[in-house]
C-alpha cells in the first residue's frame, strides 16, 4: 500500500526511460510511492514554433506552476 503520493509532469523515453521502467515494473510501488504522471490537456499546449530564442513558449513546468504536479524534467 502506497503511503506517499507524488505527481510529475509527463516524461518520454528519451528523457525519462528510467521513470517509465520504474513505474511499469512496480519499483515506485515497492517504495510505497504512488507516482502519478500527468499531461497538459491538448487544448492547453503551446507551440514552441511560436516562441523566440529569448521568449520561448515551452510547456515544461506549467503543471508545476499551477500546483497540479510537484516536479518536471527540464
Amino acid at each position: 500500500m502506497a503511503s506517499m503520493t507524488m505527481t510529475i509532469e509527463r516524461v518520454m523515453a528519451f528523457n525519462g526511460l528510467d521513470v517509465l521502467v520504474a513505474r511499469d515494473e512496480g519499483l515506485f510501488a515497492e517504495e510505497g510511492l504512488d507516482l502519478r504522471i500527468v499531461t497538459l490537456p491538448p487544448g492547453e499546449m503551446r507551440s514552441t514554433a511560436d516562441g523566440t530564442l529569448t521568449r520561448p513558449l515551452t510547456n515544461q513546468g506549467r503543471l508545476v506552476d499551477r500546483g497540479d504536479a510537484v516536479m518536471f524534467q527540464g
Binding site: 507524488m6 528519451f14 528510467d18 521513470v19 521502467v21 514552441t48 523566440t52 529569448t54 520561448p56 524534467q73
Partner: protein, 215 residues
C-alpha cells in the same frame, strides 16, 4: 537520465560538419533542453554571430520531415528520431549528451524524493543490465507514427542510450549552465545557488536513498 541530442541534415545536404552550418538555418524547439544542446553544438563550431536558428515545433517527427523537405538545413533530434533519421539516410554532423534535470516545487519533501530516487536508481540498474530489452519504450511513445513503429530493437545504437544513477546537482555545473544561458539573454541576474537548489532537501533525500540502497 542522460539525453542524447544530434544535429541532423538531410541525405541531399552539402553539410558534413557542424562548422559548415555557419549562417545556415537550424530549426530548434526553443525552451527545451534539446534546443540548448543544439546551440551548444553550434557555438562550439563557429563564432556566435554565425549561429542561425529559427523556432520550430517540439514535435521531432515534424522537424525531421521538414529537414527532409529542405525547409531548413538542420535540426536537433533525440531518440527514436535519430535512429529513424539515420534509416532515412540523414547524416549526423554533431551529437552531444546532457543531463535531464528534475525541477521540483518547494513542497516536495526529502522522504518522498528519496523514494523516487531509490526506484529510479533500481530502474537505471535494470536498464543498464540489458538496454536492448528496453528500447521498445522509444517506439511505444509514438504509436501513430509508422516509421517509428517499424523500428526494430537492433536498429538502435545503444551508445546513444545512457543512464546514470541520480545524484546531487554539482554547483559548478549549475553555475556554468546559468552563466551560459545568461550570455544568450535567456535568463537574467547573477547565479545564486541557494535560490536554485534546495540543498537541505536534496542532500537529505540522497542520504536516505543511499542508505536504503546500500542495505
Amino acid at each position: 537520465m542522460i539525453v542524447c541530442g544530434a544535429l541532423v541534415v538531410s541525405p541531399a545536404s552539402s553539410i558534413y560538419t557542424p562548422q559548415e552550418l555557419a549562417g545556415k538555418l537550424v530549426a530548434l524547439d526553443y525552451g527545451n533542453g534539446t534546443a540548448y544542446a543544439g546551440l551548444l553544438m553550434l557555438e562550439g563550431a563557429m563564432p556566435r554571430e554565425a549561429v542561425t536558428t529559427c523556432a520550430a515545433t517540439v514535435n521531432s517527427g515534424e522537424r525531421l520531415a521538414a529537414v527532409l523537405r529542405g525547409d531548413f538545413e538542420a535540426t536537433v533530434l533525440q531518440e527514436p528520431w535519430i535512429t529513424l533519421a539515420e534509416k532515412a539516410g540523414c547524416r549526423i554532423v554533431s551529437s552531444t549528451f546532457f543531463h535531464g534535470t528534475w525541477v521540483a516545487d518547494p513542497s516536495l519533501d526529502s522522504e518522498t524524493y528519496a523514494a523516487f530516487l531509490r526506484a529510479v536508481t533500481r530502474a537505471v540498474r535494470r536498464i543498464n543490465a540489458d538496454k536492448r530489452r528496453y528500447v521498445r519504450y522509444f517506439v511505444r511513445d509514438f504509436p501513430d507514427h509508422p516509421g517509428v513503429q517499424a523500428l526494430r530493437p537492433e536498429d538502435f545504437n545503444l551508445g546513444r542510450i545512457q543512464l546514470k544513477e541520480p545524484g546531487p546537482i554539482p554547483e559548478h555545473e549549475a553555475r556554468w549552465a546559468w552563466e551560459w544561458m545568461a550570455s544568450w539573454g535567456l535568463i537574467s541576474g547573477p547565479f545564486d545557488a541557494s535560490m536554485q537548489i534546495n540543498r537541505r532537501v536534496e542532500e537529505r533525500a540522497h542520504e536516505l536513498a543511499a542508505a536504503t540502497l546500500a542495505a
